[in-house]
């Protein structure tokens, strides 16, 4: 599937060359190559533990991938770990239940020591406990007890945060099978592994090292690890082709597997003069193109806004900076703006429940099993065991522990605490043209005050803005007020008022946060004059109908809401929306920002 420079230039929309079938075939081919390298890496002596992340939903494609992988692994045992694996199981622990049942001390060997000769498989790693993943990462760093390799499956959607960043940072191989279809996966079995000579030690030039470092920096990977992964992979690829020298082609392949899938943004581009046509690709060898383009990335001035690049990366902009091969690779993997956002770890939705704090007012203890995070309530346990002692004498085995109280698993009581959820303030700001003219600066002032107060309450804040045709999440829930202020300052207005879209996004974010264990409050700043419907029609009656419907949904979901009316006149529309939402209504005209902040505070506290 070669894409020439001409195709990119003439077409204008390079993405059309990559239709669904082509993307599927490319991803599957990449998967085969990367997996073989992964297995090659396992065989290397004194090498880091190979870690591979595989994005794929459960289904026939993933099953096919798994059967191909296991065929290549031949007889290496596999240790499966589900998402509810406890951190304590990494280390050796006492098996309380078995010990109590049998009357003897039964210890469970730690996962890490058990799995030293096998491959660890983390199924659904995206909803594993962060503590578990991070503890695993610490053990990986320690290098004392390691499995042969680690495979992690990620089933999360595109708009949900996936696997914990600490594991992603340490993983050298990143695969995406989400665009592969059933037919492509079934088409042909993978060829067997070729014989490799592990004693070749490929060399690399300084210029090529610069290339690697520059690519990582350009794609927003600031950790030191990805660059070292690229080097390692390039060496493996080079060894596979029995070359003693690492070439740019090897490096490109390594970047495809190790960098592009975790890229956080497009590289910064030099400023584009308004009237010039995009520069045609100079007639250079690919090698020179690579080097010239990445001489001084820190000299590039303008950053691309999310607005400038639509979901598909337009070749005209990118080709003047990236080599056409790299652009090709990006398109081929189906990498879009959304994937970039996902990789920064900030899409606003979390896949797993945030651990409830152990603190809070104590609730009565109840029956439970001992596992990490659960505190034994010894008095309650003993109290429950006491009456049964005489009866249990009959079950005493042997002479040991004659004086011990016989405690059976069903006696165990664990402490519980009230979970005091942290709150998240979701600001939904009307950034339409009408607001910009009127009271956007006052609205900003009110929000700044509220932000200052949320700092002392340790609340999370999120910022959504609706304008033109839809609603954007400018800031996913964060405690970093510095970022909140930054977003607020750069907030600008214009375009129509898609109020319904704003409410819809805000509501879905609130529901997600609620699922994750936080208490959401919607704070809507608008003048209520919606003129853009959900379907994008510029019709006032439709827009208002949609907005009222959304407001009703908010009320139904029982999510606290506050409506700050920033209209010039006391609009009945703002009040109407507030009534439908069953939220608190505060009018900004004729009042100061302080009054608003007071009103909001009292509303939150009720």
């Amino acid at each position: 599937m070669g894409v020439t420079a001409n195709t990119l230039q003439d077409d204008g929309v390079g993405a059309s060359t990559w239709d669904a079938a082509a993307l599927a075939a490319h991803q599957w081919g990449l998967a085969e190559r990367a997996t073989k390298l992964f297995i090659m890496a396992m065989g290397q002596k004194d090498a880091p533990c190979p870690i591979i992340i595989v994005r794929a939903k459960a289904g026939s494609v993933r099953d096919m991938f798994w059967s191909q992988l296991t065929a290549l692994l031949t007889d290496t045992p596999i240790t499966r770990l589900g998402p509810s694996t406890q951190t304590s199981s990494l280390y050796g622990t006492l098996d309380i239940t078995d010990s109590l049942s049998s009357g003897q001390v039964i210890k469970r060997e730690g996962l890490l020591s058990r799995a030293q000769n096998s491959v660890l498989l983390l199924t659904v790693a995206d909803i594993a406990e962060p503590e578990f993943i991070r503890s695993l990462c610490i053990e990986i760093d320690k290098e004392e007890q390691l499995p042969q390799a680690i495979i992690a499956f990620d089933e999360s959607d595109d708009d949900v945060i996936g696997i914990d960043q600490s594991l992603l940072d340490r993983a050298q191989f990143h695969l995406d099978l989400t665009l592969v279809d059933h037919r492509t996966a079934m088409a042909a079995a993978w060829s067997p592994l070729s014989e490799i000579k592990h004693d070749i030690c490929p060399e690399i030039t300084d210029k090529h090292l610069e290339n690697i470092a520059t690519h990582c920096a350009a794609f927003g990977l600031h950790s030191a690890r990805p660059a070292t992964h690229v080097l390692w992979l390039a060496k493996l690829i080079s060894t596979l082709s029995e070359s003693r020298i690492i070439t740019l082609e090897h490096i490109s392949q390594a970047i495809e597997i190790s960098v592009l899938p975790r890229a956080k943004h497009m590289p910064d581009l030099p400023p584009q003069p308004e009237d010039e046509a995009p520069n045609p690709l100079p007639a250079q060898s690919p090698e020179d193109a690579h080097n010239d383009n990445f001489e001084n990335p820190e000299d590039a001035q303008s950053t691309l806004n999310a607005d400038d690049i639509p979901d598909e990366i337009t070749p005209e902009i990118a080709q003047s900076f990236l080599s056409k091969d790299m652009l090709n690779a990006l398109l081929a993997q189906g990498i879009t703006q959304q994937k970039f956002a996902r990789n920064t770890g900030e899409t606003g939705r979390t896949g797993h429940k945030i651990n409830p704090a152990e603190r809070g007012a104590p609730k009565p203890s109840r029956k439970g099993s001992l596992h990490s995070g659960a505190a034994l309530d010894l008095p309650a346990t003993l109290r429950n065991a006491a009456p049964w002692q005489k009866f249990r004498q009959a079950f005493r085995k042997g002479e040991a522990h004659q004086n011990a109280i016989m405690i059976w698993p069903e006696d165990i009581h664990v402490k519980r605490y009230k979970h005091a959820p942290s709150s998240v303030l979701i600001f939904i700001v009307d950034a339409s043209g009408s607001t910009a003219l009127n009271r956007l600066s006052e609205a900003k002032g009110a929000m700044e005050l509220l932000l200052g107060e949320s700092y002392s309450r340790r609340d999370y804040v999120a910022l959504l803005a609706f304008r033109k045709e839809g609603c954007d999440i400018l800031l996913p829930p964060t405690r970093s007020l510095v970022r909140a202020k930054r977003e607020l300052t750069s907030l600008s207005g214009g375009g129509g008022t898609p109020l319904a879209a704003g409410l819809q996004k805000g509501l879905s974010l609130a529901i997600d946060q609620k699922k994750a264990g936080r208490e959401p409050t919607l704070i809507l700043l608008t003048d209520g004059s919606a003129n853009m419907s959900l379907s994008g029609q510029a019709s006032r009656p439709d827009a208002m109908a949609d907005a009222e419907q959304m407001a009703g949904l908010v009320a139904q979901s029982q999510i606290k809401s506050i409506i700050i009316d920033i209209g010039k006149r006391r609009q009945s529309k703002g009040k109407l929306i507030a009534e439908k939402m069953q939220g608190h209504y505060v009018a900004l005209p004729f009042t100061s920002a302080e009054t608003v902040s007071r009103a909001v505070k009292s509303a939150i506290n009720t």
Binding site: A47, N117, Q148, L209, A227, E298, N355, S480
Partner: protein
């Protein structure tokens, strides 16, 4: 499958870490004078924070501990000891490397401070203390990843123990007190929100740990890592002389530190700096005195001079400035500005 990695392979040499001069200096000064009170390392992941702590731990001299003691008690006559070791007349001793404990995100309170040994309680019916991570960290380093995400009361507890040097447990019918002295290093990613000011203030020093901005530096990082992975023994040997130099310097500085004098003129300067910056309380001044002294000892000088103070003022005071939570300015930059103003004012006088 091949036998992968043998235990206790050498760690990446501290002297071979590219850049990160502020972090390396802060760690060194905390080793010279542990009462400085720990470091808050602010920066992204993958910038070499744990590498630096592990590297330093590896080059420090081995310590003598009481054998069979879970707290690594200090057998020397004035060393802090747990009640059992204090009562024991014939302590058997052993030598080990200074411990480094890495605290993962989401560590429970029980795992941190220790708890009732469930096994002994339920099976044998005896009340025995199960030491936690604070016990393992005694006389070493405690590294906390993303300290800003740790529950407030745990950070509180850690800072208490770090300041007093003792861990006291009163729960589940246990009453235990054991020594727990460590250099506390907390990493913090500012994008995720900050520590409360009361907690932040109790860290002795704060440093920004950023990825090298120059491509050449990034290349050097990859090169050194690659060379290290290829042959750890050879790489360590290559840096051996630099490492030994460091070890000697640290040893000498530790001895000299207590004897260094600081004159009134320098004390006045310190007070002036803190007053201009508007730092709350006296902790800033006291820490700046200690850190300047450790700095002078590290440089092998015989008295604390103005340069020693100005050198370390940003890392001591950067996180103690009264601030607007919405203010973007990095603390270190503000300190430098004030120092420049001060220099101008004194030049004019």
């Amino acid at each position: 499958m091949t036998d992968k990695i043998s235990k206790r392979r050498p760690t990446f040499p501290f002297a071979a870490i590219v850049g990160q001069e502020h972090l390396k200096l802060a760690l060194t000064l905390c080793v010279i004078d542990p009462s400085i009170g720990g470091i808050l390392a602010v920066g992204d992941r993958g910038t070499g924070k744990t590498t630096a702590v592990r590297g330093l731990t590896a080059i420090l001299p081995e310590i003598e501990i009481a054998q069979d003691c879970p707290y690594q008690c200090d057998p020397s006559p004035n060393g802090a000891k747990c009640p059992e070791c204090a009562a024991n007349q014939n302590l058997k001793t052993n030598y080990i490397q200074q411990p480094m404990v890495d605290l993962p995100l989401g560590t429970s309170e029980d795992r941190l401070i220790g708890a009732l040994n469930i096994e002994r309680a339920l099976i044998d019916g005896i009340k025995v203390f199960q030491p936690g991570l604070l016990a393992s960290a005694n006389r070493g380093f405690l590294y906390i990843d993303e300290v800003n995400l740790l529950e407030d009361h745990l950070v509180d507890l850690l800072l208490d123990v770090a300041a007093s040097g003792w861990n006291s447990i009163e729960r589940d019918g246990l009453s235990v007190r054991h020594p727990s002295r460590f250099v506390l290093v907390g990493s913090c990613n500012p994008e995720e929100g900050e520590l409360r000011p009361q907690l932040q203030d109790r860290f002795g020093l704060s440093v920004d740990v950023i990825t090298p901005q120059i491509i050449a530096d990034r290349v050097e990082v990859i090169k050194r890592y690659d060379a290290f992975e290829k042959d750890r023994a050879a790489f360590t040997a290559k840096w051996a002389s630099e490492t030994q130099l460091m070890q000697k310097r640290i040893e000498r500085a530790q001895k000299q530190c207590a004897e260094l004098s600081i004159k009134d003129r320098e004390l006045t300067l310190i007070a002036e700096i803190c007053q201009r910056l508007g730092t709350d309380g006296l902790r800033g001044e006291l820490t700046l005195i200690k850190t300047a002294r450790a700095n002078a000892a590290w440089r092998g000088d015989h008295a604390v001079s103005e340069d020693h103070i100005l050198d370390v003022a940003p890392m001591v005071l950067g996180h103690r400035l009264r601030r607007d939570p919405l203010d973007d300015a990095r603390g270190g930059a503000r300190v430098e500005r004030v120092l420049a103003q001060l220099a101008q004012a004194r030049g004019a006088a």
